[in-house]
Symmetry: C2
Subunit: 134 residues, 2 copies
DNA sequence: ATGAATGCAAAAACTTTGCATGACG
DNA sequence: CGTCATGCAAAGTTTTTGCATTCAT
């Protein structure tokens, strides 16, 4: 089971809830799930995991670098399995669809701008809100 | 009183809470205030405005384009008086300091990327998390 | 066995809403 | 005056926490 190794690798004890949540994130067709989404999906799959545990585990996964948390507009956070490759997001304001993208020019400009101000880039967050062209 | 005209211009009735909140945002030295920040600042200034009203008014101001709401990381929204000029933010992860910037190259690239995917840009959100260079 | 993880329920943090009262035009 | 805005308190959301129990090693 690949999931077990993933967990051991980051120093988390291999427990049923953690494995199930990791599998859920790995096999879902949604790229981004909220804690509630994960919880409901697990319930529907007949897995009995508490919502509090889902929150706790997702937060641990984030600290461990296994998932990325996004605060898109609208109250709740969503999580995405990190694939090591950095990317940014485009969110359609009409359909809610999420498209991932990566642009070297923007990435480079960001580092330049930060350096011009005497800082170094630790992380960044770019979300483009878009609409299908009429 | 400049504030009164601002309010009339966007079709909002000129009421004491609205004027006070607008003045608060205009005169504060913090660049970004949460609803709670505004509320507390008003209380300290001896102005008696309800927290619910602060939330309602800030939301109206946002709809009217008077302020911009940001969902930086960490639960609560912050508001900033809009100066018409668009800009993005750099947040120092150590001091919490917020620096505003604007880069034409990034802005342009964003529009290009979105267009390449068959969309048009409605809005965007870019935050660079930075640290003072060692 | 022993310390960590879980589940539940309670609480915390943030924001919205219902309704009676009061203020703006 | 009629209507819209306000204040309060209550309810909604999302997320966190305390604590007894269960599980992993």
């Amino acid at each position: 089971m690949v999931e077990n190794n993933e967990l051991r690798k980051v120093g988390l004890k291999v427990t049923l809830p953690r494995v199930k949540i990791l599998q859920m994130l790995d096999t879902t067709d949604q790229r981004h799930m909220s804690a509630e989404d994960v919880y409901k999906a697990l319930m529907e799959a007949g897995e009995d995991v508490g919502l509090a545990t889902v929150y706790r585990v997702l937060t641990q996964f984030e600290s461990a670098g296994l998932v990325t948390r996004h605060n898109f507009d609208g109250g709740h956070a969503v999580f995405e399995l990190s694939d090591g490759e950095h990317h940014d997001h485009m969110v359609c304001v009409e359909t809610g669809e999420v498209i991932e993208f990566m642009d070297h020019e923007i990435e480079k400009r960001q580092r330049e701008i930060v350096a011009e101000h005497g800082y170094e880039l630790v992380d960044h967050n770019l979300v483009l809100y878009v609409r299908k062209k009429a």
